[in-house]
């Protein structure tokens, strides 16, 4: 089977499973006492946020290895991861305000985590813009790698700088010292959702990777201008 098709299948399965996770979240998990139904967005928001940040770290790592090995597969991986990361970041930035309006009473606030996600999004967009602005494939790969490494190193600084400010955002309740502070059914639903998002990341990645491979083939044959 061709790689694009494999990616499509994985994505389709992941999306179906996501529907399953939401059925479970709505039917079988308790309604949170203070937040009510708005809390259900947690199963979408947090896994997306985790993958949005992980994708950036993967962009940085593959960029660093690319500069050493010059293996085009690593460049394709970084490009794919950046695009998928952008989408996940967009998911976080849209689901956040939907939750924030009923709970905080405002769509947006310059809260630490919101600011951090916005930065991450801007870094991704800059990375994709740079890629689209360079015509020569070898140069594009090198430039993108340089920016990818810088972006990865920037992430801890944004973390540091935003966490110095007071925050309204709920504190981590799953990844924290000691036992997770939420009921078992919520935790299991959330873990399923995290698994589904991992699958979704994988599905998107395989598709994007295969597409950039095909695009490079076409570019090499002189069929298309670059995107």
């Amino acid at each position: 089977m061709r790689m694009v098709q494999v990616g499509r299948w994985i994505t389709a399965i992941a999306l179906l499973l996501l529907v399953g996770v939401y059925l479970r979240a709505l039917a079988y998990t308790p309604v949170e006492q203070s937040q009510g139904l708005a809390q259900k967005i947690f199963y979408l928001h947090v896994p997306a946020a985790i993958w949005a940040e992980t994708a950036m770290i993967l962009v940085g790592l593959s960029s660093a290895f690319y500069l050493f090995t010059k293996d085009p597969r690593l460049d394709r991986f970084a490009a794919a991861s950046a695009e998928v990361g952008t989408i996940f970041c967009a998911i976080v930035l849209t689901t956040g305000p939907i939750w924030g309006k009923p709970i905080w009473g405002t769509w947006w606030t310059w809260d630490a985590r919101l600011t951090f996600t916005l930065f991450l999004f801007l870094l991704y967009v800059g990375y994709l813009l740079l890629r689209s602005a360079v015509a020569d494939p070898a140069m594009r790969a090198r430039y993108a790698a340089v920016l990818g490494i810088c972006a990865m190193c920037e992430v801890p600084f944004i973390h540091l700088s935003v966490y110095m400010f007071p925050t309204l955002h709920p504190m981590p309740i799953v990844l924290q010292p000691g036992r997770p502070k939420l009921p078992g059914s919520m935790l299991s639903t959330w873990l399923m959702s995290l698994g589904v998002f991992t699958l979704l990341y994988l599905g998107f990645m395989v598709q994007r990777y295969a597409l950039s491979y095909l695009r490079e083939e076409l570019e090499a044959a002189g069929e298309v201008g670059h995107a």
Partner: protein
């Protein structure tokens, strides 16, 4: 390449750039006028009865420096595009890192000149007391400037050879500028309000760490931006 050579070569590159600039003086004059204009625009973009000068001064100072620095950074490698000067520079038997360091030094001198014009003008136009806090203010400005000029010099080496160079540099650079900028604004605000120095020590540390990380990173990554 040994380090004394690295610095010597870097200085040679920097002095070449600065000499070119000194002979023509067009860029520095334009940026100086730009700084004056931004400060004037700020004066009209606020309500003096609503916000006191002292509260607004740190933001005005750093926003002005940000825009002026971006204009200045675009220039550094633009210079090398004419007559394929960059190829000549790359053919020179020197370490690529020393080319970066040279460009960094030249950019720092350039941006420092802008800041040298900007600070007294801020004091004059917005009636802010600067002299008593001059030494720590210079420390904040130096630490913040080194950080974002280091990243900016690296990025401008890349963006200059892309489409929309003038637009792409700020788009790439601003997310990297904002952390040092936000610390510098906070530190400047505390300084101008006459707070004790111990309150800004944390920000200064953060700026120093940022400088060390990004100067090192840029020196290491620069060769990848010019390898043909």
């Amino acid at each position: 390449m040994r380090s004394p050579n690295l610095l010597r070569h870097a200085w040679a590159v920097a002095s070449k750039d600065l000499l070119v600039e000194f002979r023509s003086r067009t860029a520095i004059l334009s940026v100086a006028v730009f700084v004056v204009l931004v400060l004037v625009v700020f004066n009209f973009g606020r309500d003096p009865t609503a916000v006191s000068n002292l509260d607004l001064a740190p933001s005005i100072l750093w926003v002005t420096f940000t825009f002026a620095a971006i204009l200045a950074l675009n220039r550094a490698f633009q210079l090398e595009l004419e007559n394929h000067a960059l190829e000549g520079l790359l053919l020179a038997p020197i370490d690529r890192s020393s080319i970066y360091l040279g460009k960094l030094i030249a950019n720092l001198v350039f941006v420092a000149t802008i800041e040298l014009i900007g600070v007294p003008l801020l004091a004059l136009f917005f009636n802010v007391l600067v002299l008593p806090y001059l030494a720590p203010l210079i420390a904040v400005i130096v630490l913040a400037t080194v950080g974002f000029v280091a990243v900016g010099t690296l990025f401008s080496a890349m963006t200059v050879r892309t489409r929309f160079a003038e637009l792409l540099l700020p788009v790439l650079l601003l997310p990297f500028m904002i952390p040092p900028l936000s610390w510098a604004v906070l530190a400047t605000g505390r300084l101008l309000a006459g707070r004790p120095l111990s309150e800004i020590a944390g920000w200064l540390n953060m700026l120093a760490v940022y400088d060390i990380v990004f100067v090192t990173l840029a020196v290491m990554l620069f060769p990848a931006t010019v390898n043909e």
